[in-house]
Symmetry: C2
């Protein structure tokens, strides 16, 4: 051990050594993208073992393999899934492709899982086809109300994009559809002026998007909600699992719809008489399967009971060229470089935990089960969680989503990192990013977004209330209107995709590695936790403004039902005062005395936890963060004050308006109380 | 501030000054028992103000009055409640008394609330009367199954005792009764050879037991479950409140049943044709009412963010001679004596919080709302909670209910306190207690029981997982078979009751004050928290044994449904090893270094928290302690592994045996996981 105050001068030095050391991403990325490694398969276990072995060699104090037995879903190998057009005699006159054309260089690879929708029900429904655009609530409602088309008993065809595919399926089920076909529309999956893979990075017509379609709302393994899926754990009967889709779902590419790239597709709702009849043939099986997380640790020197976590998934639908291996390579490289520091005698103030999660693609099972397994310790000890999914999804600039208290650290850090862009020698990542994506008119700084869901930070942030961040390289969202990145979840996510198109110098991945590594380093090493509670106060003020604006779209009802946001604004005001006073007290803190430092650090650490409501959000017991959660209508979109947001969203669809507004008032009260209580945790503790 | 290691030698000295100083209980008890001070009344607010003022004078750093607006229940002053016997023409030929005869010396006192059942529904049901003994599940089942008597549409008459009165009412509602009469049977409320008050401490025939009959299961204010009942808090519609009784309920004394004391009463089930017809006339109102907690603090010198809480209620049904003022006087006296220490320059290592709770009698509202209001801070910072309800309920010996980790402290402390019994000069409280109530054949030590519920520790222990204890003087439960103490919740709970009968020298109350004060002192002052995790391990082993024995009453079903306790025993084994290793590491801890001391103290503090399951027990979201909670069938009885216990209890009443055993298995799995996870928190943190 070492003295409490010693680390201030030396930690800056070590950070300066750490950041440039991240220079081996190219071979690491190559190494882990050669073979398909779907969750629950032999190859994904082999990669886990290899990673664990190498982490130990890099110098971590401990590495363990942590298995869970969770419900996964695989196509039936002897009965492939496909969709047919059937004629009036019931004969299949056209069948969709059974697999994607394998990219060059991978022809001999086995175990490429064909495109499918994980957790689809089995079945062979047959019927008329109805096109429902993106399958959003408003799409179904437009279809029903404006066009008088009822989808009950129909098969719906929905294009990917805008919202999480699981929400599309839920909406289809609620509307009474008996099957769902998901497809990639070139309008959403081809960038303008770009060739299809392998000549460019657009989605070829034979490619399709795999993905799970289950709205787990944070439950992790659906058979063991709230508890880790260990060997002895009691498992619910499959029939009792809430939210498991009960209709067949299947994804196809645009070739199977005979649409060529870069051409306008079906306009809204024209496909009703697309074909005489459609039959889906789906034989996908749910099965309890063993998965493996790899957990490595560097023991903290002074505060071993404070945890800083870097976690990202390892499982991929196929090769995972972008998702997740561009991120997993970054984790591996960060472990290697932290190992170099350890060899030089460095040891962080706090404990660092590195995680290679399994089964993210099936619904965040690996990370969620581990969070459930370690909930007590994480709740008491975790300082921050940095997520490491795909490190790149575009070639434009940095993208950061994080909790408000990390804004300042992200800015400080990116000023110490070099821009990876050509022609920007001597320019910081901060400047490069700022130039490309300024926040808003009223805030001159690079844009930082709210965390939504759809990756492994979910259980740590939304369920447990641990300050969290994610960072990646992204596209220009002003000009590049396609969804996600075009080859997302297809077989064309290869090493070459990154090496030839996205990041030929691997400098972008390196910049992302430096951001992630720097966050972990500073959270683990700073004597005072680098969390800015004033930023949280500012953000709460903006969120309160924006939710009241949403409500004010109904001025008459606001008056009629006496809906007031006063308590929320008053709570935000109290919080802001407490935050400002807290930072003032920090200025006069005696940093030589370890106990007062620990006391204030604990207040910083537990601030995010104070936004957790053990009651959960309405109907979603595992989404417990009152400030941030995805809306119930789109898992990907992070909303602020999600309880109020959802209650307002439901106003227009509710049969009982008075009751719907009562729910809005209830949610405002909960938000006001939570913000007030969180502010109280920042006041002097006695 | 002072140095970390300084306090070891001086703290013993201060404890030796503290304990003998508790010598003003007699005047304090007299002062606060002169007037009725029901929750929500003017007089109870006046006492609160007086207490707050005096606490400040005693020397506390801060005192605040904390109001909440909660649902309470009062008789209608203009329409008294009573029960009639009606003849065949519907005329009331006999009416029960409207009030108890006022005891001598209190004739001029106003605002004595007559006996009533708080939260009774209003109504005037009329019908046949059926006697259902104590109203337990087994009593109703015997009536129905063995005697073929259906109580649907009947008024049931149930004697007080054995289980919480709210559970009796729930059972009656489930059985279809349309009204409940509760009465005090001399067999349960008169001690042998004792005269009735004022000549002795037995219940007179004109006395009756007030009490709330609402099974809140830890929710506190029923209109704001999970949140503090502040001004701005959203309140549920009364109609939506789960568990509020929907039938009239009323208590009567034995004079109204024409039974004289010390004589055998109705034998079981003979009262069916007791009278032609009975009519209940109940006009009790539920109303949202302001209540007031008084919260005082002594700021901790070294760890201001660690809280030790002494809390007890102030509200009384009438004078509160025993319940709660025998305990509230103790709290007041402890504040006074801690004030004396402060004047001598002492300041505890940790923060001490003193609480005078309101509205305990209506269902723990004051303490629960404050726990909800401060949940985040309590979760992170509370070291222990000592409850201070009635300090005496008998004249025999000490009674302690506490969490296992406090057993050792209780024993150590009672060895430093003198026995209050005559003829035991020079004998310690420990010896006196040990002699009168040895634990069991296999454990030679004074008996300590599990915490149940029915007093203000509930939210702190069962919902939040804060190590908790209560101590009081009690009767000889081997020989004194009456329920509670005879005049419980009657107007006869006066100062004189204590001064003449229970504790004429006030030495028993003083011994209880010393136990409560000593617990607070040691929890607040010891450098290492005085919590013994080995004791927790031992207790878990015993609880596991006893729950498996309960299950083994069904050996064939255990086999048929493959019910195994292996995972639970394995978890208890792991926990025991972790506990032993933890205490071994404590031996070698460098106590001069504040950080490792804090780290291990945090592990000790958070151990109790580790038994909290945010999912709650089945159907009882606010009972979240997996090891300790009351059974669903009797709020007063603390059960270990309550989830398993209730699941086993339900086996015999379940229509679907297979499903009932599935629930047993589910609960075993949860218990095993929780014990395992709690054990993990004791291992080295990195």
């Amino acid at each position: 051990t070492r003295s409490n105050s010693a680390n201030k001068s030396t930690s800056g030095k070590y950070l300066k050594e750490l950041l440039p050391a991240t220079n081996c991403l190219h071979p690491l990325h190559r190494k882990f993208t050669r073979l398909p490694h779907l969750a629950g398969t032999e190859q994904n276990l082999r990669y886990a073992e290899q990673i664990g072995k190498e982490w130990l060699e890099f110098g971590l104090d401990t590495v363990e393999m942590v298995p869970y037995d969770v419900l996964l879903s695989y196509p039936n190998k002897s009965q492939p899934n496909y969709i047919s057009i059937v004629d009036q005699f019931g004969s299949e006159v056209f069948n969709t492709s059974l697999a994607e054309p394998v990219p060059e260089g991978y022809e001999d690879v086995s175990n490429i899982v064909p495109p499918y929708s994980a957790f689809s029900a089995k079945g062979q429904p047959e019927g008329d086809l109805v096109y429902v655009n993106y399958g959003r609530t408003e799409d179904f409602s437009q279809l029903e109300k404006d066009m008088g088309i009822n989808v009950t008993g129909k098969i719906v065809i929905i294009r990917y994009g805008k919202i999480f595919r699981g929400n599309k399926v839920t909406n289809a089920m609620l509307a009474g559809a008996k099957g769902v076909i998901l497809f990639s529309d070139p309008a959403d999956y081809c960038a303008v002026g770009v060739q299809s893979y392998p000549h460019g990075w657009n989605l070829p017509g034979g490619g399709a998007q795999r993905g799970n379609i289950f709205n787990m709302n944070g439950a992790g393994d659906p058979l063991t909600p709230g508890y880790p899926a260990k060997e002895y754990t009691y498992r619910s009967n499959l029939e009792n699992v809430v939210g498991l889709p009960n209709i067949p779902v299947h994804p196809i590419g645009y070739n199977d719809l005979a649409i060529s790239c870069q051409k306008d597709f079906l306009s809204l709702f024209v496909a009703v008489s697309f074909s005489p009849k459609v039959r889906m043939n789906i034989h996908t099986n749910n099965q309890v399967t063993r998965i493996h997380n790899v957990i490595g640790r560097i023991r903290g020197a002074l505060e071993p009971d404070r945890y800083v976590i870097l976690g990202g998934h390892r499982d991929a639908w196929v090769f995972g060229g972008i998702d997740p291996m561009s991120g997993a390579a970054v984790v591996h490289e960060i472990v290697r470089t932290f190992g170099l520091l350890l060899r030089k005698g460095w040891r962080p103030r706090r404990t660092i935990i590195f995680a290679s999660w399994d089964a993210e693609e099936f619904g965040l099972q690996g990370s969620t089960e581990w969070a459930e397994d370690n909930a007590k310790m994480l709740q008491e000890r975790a300082v921050g969680y940095v997520n490491a999914d795909s490190a790149i999804e575009g070639m434009y600039t940095l993208r950061v989503d994080c909790t408000p208290s990390l804004h300042t650290l992200v800015y400080d850090l990116t000023k110490q990192i070099a821009s990876p862009e050509e022609g920007e020698e001597g320019v910081s990542l901060y400047e490069s990013w700022h130039k490309r994506d300024n926040w808003t008119n009223d805030r001159d700084a690079p844009r930082i977004s709210k965390l939504g869901s759809g990756s492994d930070f979910e259980a740590y942030f939304i369920r447990l209330g641990i300050a969290a961040a994610r960072a990646r390289y992204t596209k220009n969202k002003e000009t590049e209107r396609y969804s996600s990145y075009p080859v997302y979840h297809s077989v064309y996510e290869t090493f070459e995709l990154v090496d030839k198109f996205y990041d030929p110098t691997f400098k972008r991945l390196r910049a992302v590695a430096q951001v992630r590594a720097g966050l972990i380093f500073q959270l683990a090493e700073s004597q005072l936790l680098p969390l800015d509670v004033n930023q949280y106060a500012d953000s709460l003020g903006k969120y309160a403004q924006s939710i009241v604006q949403l409500a004010q779209r109904h001025p008459q009802e606001m008056t009629k039902y006496e809906v007031s946001f006063d308590a929320l604004f008053s709570a935000v005001g109290n919080f802001s005062v407490a935050a400002r006073d807290f930072h003032e007290r920090l200025q006069t803190l005696n940093r030589e005395d370890p106990m007062p430092v620990r006391v204030m650090n604990d207040q910083l650490m537990y601030l995010e936890r104070a936004f957790i409501d053990p009651m959960g959000l309405p109907g979603r017991p595992f989404y417990r963060h009152v400030i941030f959660a995805p809306s119930s209508h789109n898992k990907y979109a992070g909303e602020s004050f999600p309880g109020i947001y959802d209650a307002l969203f439901d106003i227009k669809n509710s049969a009982d308006t008075a009751k719907a507004w009562e729910e809005v008032k209830h949610q405002i009260s909960i938000a006001a109380f939570t913000v007030h209580a969180a502010g109280m945790t920042l006041t002097p503790p006695a």
